[in-house]
Assembly symmetry: C2
Homo-oligomer: 132 residues x 2
């Protein structure tokens, strides 16, 4: 198995504030303000300098889109990012449940699975688990 390169990990804090600001197209002071408002929390070195990850940069770009294109203020951005996480979580849960139900339907109606719908089982024999 190949070893994962550490440099490729998007949560690895590798950028100093000047580089992060350049990558995001922002003023370094703006990044400090966003942190003060609780919008993101870059890591700190032992010398107390900020270190930003690739994920932090993505977060900065999202903030930029919300503030500049949509005109949302920072309190709004914070709430929106929280809600977006909730949406993502729920979407994953829906996918998981749909897959389980699809799976059940495949047992109930082998070869005729098109949608997850409740159907009467009366005339249908379940396919044994061991034959799957």
């Amino acid at each position: 198995m190949a070893e994962r390169r550490e440099g490729a990990r998007p949560d690895r804090a590798v950028f100093v504030i000047s580089v992060a600001a350049e990558l995001a197209g922002m003023h370094p002071q703006t990044l400090r303000m966003y942190e003060r408002k609780g919008l993101l929390r870059p890591e700190r070195t032992s010398g107390n300098s900020r270190r930003y990850s690739e994920l932090d940069i993505e977060r900065l770009r999202l903030i930029q889109e919300l503030t500049q294109e949509a005109g949302v203020n920072l309190a709004g951005v914070k709430r929106i990012m929280e809600l977006q996480r909730e949406v993502d979580r729920l979407q994953a849960r829906v996918r998981e449940l749909e897959e389980r139900l699809q799976h059940r339907m495949a047992i109930a109606m082998p070869g005729r699975v098109e949608r997850t719908e409740i159907v009467p089982l009366r005339t249908l024999a379940p396919r044994p688990w061991s034959e799957r």
Copy 2:
């Protein structure tokens, strides 16, 4: 069957702007501004006056909470209300899917339903639909 009283319907537009503003604890001009920003859309009478429903009042109270307590601006409120609708929709979908799956499990394991988990069907006889 009893007839539903029309006055009780929360989507019925019954309040003129001065009353709606009083109920929401706001200035009438503020309500007009919110409409201009697309945060809510009260009905209009044939004479072009606004008429607010109970649901509109609830929406106004939500806007008030987001702006005054959380400090969100109106662009943010708009986006947050859209995302909240998406969250509500997804939560309902999750409940629906969980119920369906629970139902399937009840068929597979009568009397032993605790969690929705995939289990082997090999040794279990399905409960006939007609007996439910």
